[in-house]
């Protein structure tokens, strides 16, 4: 048995029956990291020694009964924009290359209180801006299914680490698709919760009205379990909701009979890769076989989502990233002649090109004279998008779309073409605009054995519904048993 092939719910079982210890599990993952990280490059910071030591301690605590939780001794990986006290949180930026947060994010507190073990901080596009993890200041993470391909982004490190079995599961963040798109590219399960379900306290803000932390896992059951851990109202985040906590694993019924699935035809139009389209059509057939009622409909407003998203996200980012000014923490230019020069040089040298591009875009759309035409208009369109989704959810329980119009693309093929890179978000952004939950699960591979993702969108706080739909599909199609990453280098 290779421990790293097990899902977390399987690990949990074995921990409980004393078949495995936390040290054995952690050791297996540390060995895997030592073996695969050189190829995949998923981590910004590895905590292998610390993890082994912690595992030993937790094994003791399990013995004495001090560690009682269901997740004590289970390792995890954390995206590097989620603050961890005492461990660097870099956002994959030169700006925060040596930044150590003085506090833990709320989700990290929750993970720590479960006595889970942090294996390390995972690579991402700088400040979560990008769809390929190529915009990391430190390294380009590679897709374990084909090391010449990108893992997607911005949570590319998290998705690649789960896919390559260097962590059993991971936390990512999703502002416009940053959990779902890399999960799709790496053949794993990624869930973006409803806006407000998970506290944002301690998530380094990109676009505050869109950001959400969520799980990236091997399967849907693990996704439900990790969601259970991280949800809950947080008085430190006033946008976090007061929903009563539910056990999402109880929503997994392996039954979609009578489930009403809407398929917005706009998501299958121009620009979608034929093989992706075929895989999705096959998935739709599977749902029909499983007893769901599938219907095509029009979500016309969706075509405005991408423009709306880039205006709102950049506007918020331009303000959120102002604090990286070289004064209190982070990168400061070595030489400067006055205050303005200090700001200018620190920010010019500390931020990468994509981050600068978005700060400039965002500054522009908020400027006097342009505010009404861009930011205000975008907020109005946002309301219309929400209304359209509300209408759709009066008819359907779940909406089904591709997660991305394509499979993972070659490293370097889009990094110089920002607009084309932005188009990769076309299927995911409207979910963030609407504040809705969305999950990406693998639904097939293309001819080159690259995974294809399916996105299921739910109404607000209906994570249970999409998790069940995803679970039922997964139980039927058994993607993980039939496909696995090859780590091949491809023909260069």
């Amino acid at each position: 048995m290779d421990i790293t092939e097990l899902t977390v719910h399987e690990l949990q079982e074995k921990l409980k029956n004393k078949e495995l210890t936390s040290s054995e599990i952690t050791k297996a993952y540390v060995d895997r990291i030592n073996e695969k990280e050189k190829d995949v490059q998923a981590f910004v910071t590895t905590l292998t020694d610390e993890a082994l030591e912690q595992a030993k301690k937790i094994d003791e605590e399990i013995k004495t009964g001090e560690a009682k939780g269901d997740f004590a001794g289970i390792p995890i990986g954390i995206k590097d924009n989620i603050c961890t006290k005492g461990v660097k949180t870099t956002c994959s930026s030169k700006m925060l290359e040596n930044f150590v947060s003085p506090y833990d994010a709320t989700v990290v507190e929750k993970i720590n209180s479960e006595k889970m073990i942090n294996l390390g901080k995972l690579n991402m596009d700088e400040f979560a801006m990008g769809g390929s993890t190529e915009y990391s200041y430190f390294k380009k993470t590679r897709n374990p299914w084909n090391l010449n391909k990108v893992p997607g982004g911005s949570s590319g490190g998290s998705a690649a680490a789960v896919a390559s079995r260097m962590v059993p599961w991971a936390l990512g963040s999703d502002t416009g698709g940053s959990i779902r798109q890399p999960s799709s590219f790496c053949g794993v399960v990624g869930l973006k919760p409803t806006y407000g379900l998970v506290s944002r306290y301690g998530l380094v803000a990109f676009a505050s009205s869109l950001d959400q932390i969520g799980p990236i896992t091997k399967d849907v059951y693990d996704s439900a379990m990790l969601l259970n851990i991280i949800t809950g109202h947080d008085e430190r985040d006033t946008t976090s909701s007061n929903q009563e906590k539910i056990d999402y694993t109880k929503c997994l019924k392996n039954d979609v009979k009578g489930l009403k699935i809407g398929v917005p035809k706009e998501f299958f139009g121009e620009g979608i890769n034929e093989e992706v389209k075929e895989a999705l059509e096959k998935a739709i057939e599977t749902y029909k076989e499983l007893g769901a009622e599938v219907e095509e409909f029009s979500l016309d407003i969706a075509k405005y989502s991408l423009a709306t998203y880039y205006i709102i996200a950049c506007a918020e980012a331009s303000s959120n990233l102002g604090r990286f000014d070289g004064i209190r923490y982070g990168y400061r230019a070595k030489e400067f002649k006055d205050l303005k020069d200090l700001y200018r040089k620190s920010r010019s040298q500390g931020f990468g090109p994509e981050v600068k591009r978005r700060i400039i875009l965002g500054t522009y759309v908020l400027s006097s004279g342009y505010y009404d035409a861009y930011y205000k208009k975008a907020q109005q369109v946002r309301t219309l998008v929400m209304n359209e989704f509300n209408k759709a959810f009066q008819k359907y329980d779940v909406l089904l779309t591709p997660t991305s119009p394509t499979v993972a693309f070659d490293i370097g093929s889009k990094s110089n073409n920002p607009l084309e890179m932005y188009l990769a978000d076309i299927c995911t952004v409207s979910v963030n605009i609407g504040g809705l939950p969305g999950i990406s699960i693998p639904c097939g591979v293309d001819k080159e054995n690259m995974p294809i993702g399916m996105q299921l969108i739910g109404n607000k706080f209906q994570e249970g519904t999409i998790l069940n739909a995803a679970y039922t599909f997964e139980q039927k199609t058994k993607f993980r048993e039939n496909h696995e990453p090859s780590f091949r280098k491809g023909e260069e």
Partner: protein, 478 residues
């Protein structure tokens, strides 16, 4: 043209620090004077990933201020970000309110020399204060102290209804007293907890268009505000009279030279890129919430003043002075109640206490004795324990080395001599030493009596009971 040919137009933006225990978006204390960077946390230092949580007390205090100035309270308000870079602003944006302030359309009445006048309040909104830059005396640059970052403020914006520095002074004093009465700000100007941005413009009398205004920022003393306005009016008149145009700019008032200086070049015209703060939810207030605050408001200066006129028969002028400060007003009412002599308490406050406050530029809040001690002073005179001239000395002592008036009298040996034998002894001595005055008095010069009494007071170093002296001299000289 002469200055009289111009009309002065002034509007104020007053910032008052609210006296909540904790900051507006985190739970750090707001108290003044702590060692640098000791009242800070990840939130008010803008550590990555932190989020603001609005302190509900701040909303309550702002609504109090709005209701006390007869504003309409908005039931649907929000926080906006005002973006700019400065080292004292850790997030690079100030959380403020842009197009939906909490309070709007209020007013304050002032009693100017030209009569009663209503000054419009455009709006009152909540925002956070910035930190402070301390310029390093060793020239190694500036040091940032973030203790003040996130201290809650209200900004009270007036209509351009003020027409002179006198009106500005009266408006500010009235506003300050209202904020003190409703206990939302301690209004300590020296500590910067009340400061004003003053917008001044002039136009020819009769003109309907406003002139170009200049703004003087962060003024924090009544005296400098008056001086700065007077200087700025003269400067603007001068510019226009010499064929120039007043430029819209921010000025700095220099107290030492008594001049204003331009602060920024026009290149720096700021675009703050206001937009709604996505980290904070909208502020929704119910009717019931607002009504409960309205009901909890204390008696305001205007109403107290009316009561003093009828209940204590104070003159309008005295009532104005006393009610101008909540502290003075409380001192008056409490001391009067204890000593049962409001007339005497009023006199003490209006004359000696006010004089000392003026001379020492002290704020009434800083008066080092309480109403009990003032009442005791009045009662000591009423009982004849001390004379009123000794009492004046006791009062000075109470300011300088605060303690009970009895203790002061005991220590200094200032108890009034009311013993008949002792008085008689002094009287006889004075009569013997001043035969000329005795003769004058007997020749019908009443004034001579005063001189004799004065000599007796001198002899006793002011401790003799003056009524007894008077009476005894008269008897001896019969």
């Amino acid at each position: 043209m002469a200055r009289e040919d111009y009309e002065v137009v002034i509007g104020l933006e007053v910032h008052a620090e609210l006296s909540t225990k904790t900051k507006i978006f985190c739970s750090c204390p707001t108290s003044f004077g702590a060692a640098p960077n000791t009242h800070i946390c990840p939130i008010c230092t803008a550590m990555p990933g932190t989020l603001p949580v609005l302190n509900e007390k701040v909303v309550e205090y702002a609504v109090r201020a709005g209701l006390a100035t007869e504003c309409t309270i908005s039931q649907d308000s929000k926080n906006d970000r005002k973006n700019y870079f400065y080292p004292d602003l850790p997030k690079a944006y100030q959380i403020s309110q842009y197009d939906k302030p909490l309070c709007e359309h209020g007013k304050i009445e002032i009693d100017a020399s030209t009569g009663r006048k209503t000054i419009g309040i455009t709006r009152i909104h909540i925002e956070e204060d910035a930190g402070k830059l301390n310029h390093d005396e060793f020239g190694r640059g500036s040091l940032v102290d973030l203790n003040r970052a996130g201290v809650p403020l209200i900004e009270i914006v007036s209509e351009p209804d003020l027409r002179s520095s006198e009106e500005v002074d009266l408006y500010l004093r009235k506003l300050k007293s209202i904020l003190e009465y409703i206990e939302v700000s301690d209004c300590k100007m020296q500590e910067g907890s009340l400061r004003a941005d003053v917008n001044v413009s002039i136009r020819k009398k009769g003109a309907t268009e406003y002139g170009t205004r200049t703004e003087m920022k962060n003024m924090n003393s009544f005296r400098s505000i008056t001086r700065a306005i007077e200087y700025e009016i003269d400067r603007q008149v001068d510019v226009i009279d010499n064929g120039g145009e007043v430029e819209q700019e921010t000025l700095r008032w220099d107290e030492v030279s008594g001049k204003t200086f331009s602060m920024r070049d026009k290149e720096d015209a700021q675009d703050y890129r206001y937009f709604p703060d996505p980290d904070l939810v909208a502020i929704k207030l119910s009717d019931e919430y607002i009504e409960n605050i309205r009901k909890s408001l204390p008696e305001l200066p205007e109403s107290r003043k009316q009561r003093y006129l009828t209940e204590y028969h104070l003159s309008e002028k005295d009532a104005n002075i006393i009610t101008s400060s909540k502290y003075l007003s409380d001192l008056f009412e409490e001391a009067s109640k204890i000593c049962n002599n409001p007339k005497a308490v009023n006199n003490w406050i209006i004359s000696d206490i006010s004089r000392i406050l003026n001379e020492t530029e002290m704020d009434p809040v800083e008066i080092p004795f309480d109403s009990k001690q003032l009442a005791k002073l009045v009662m000591l005179i009423d009982k004849g324990t001390i004379s009123s001239s000794i009492a004046k000395k006791v009062l000075v002592e109470m300011f300088e080395h605060p303690r009970d008036p009895e203790d002061i009298i005991d220590e200094k040996g200032w108890v009034q001599i009311s013993d008949e034998g002792a008085i008689k002894e002094v009287v006889m001595k004075v009569l013997e030493n001043n035969p000329q005055s005795v003769a004058d008095y007997k020749a019908g010069k009443e004034k001579a009596l005063g001189y004799l009494v004065g000599q007796a007071m001198k002899e006793t170093r002011g401790k003799a009971n003056p009524q007894m002296l008077n009476q005894m001299f008269k008897e001896e000289l019969k």
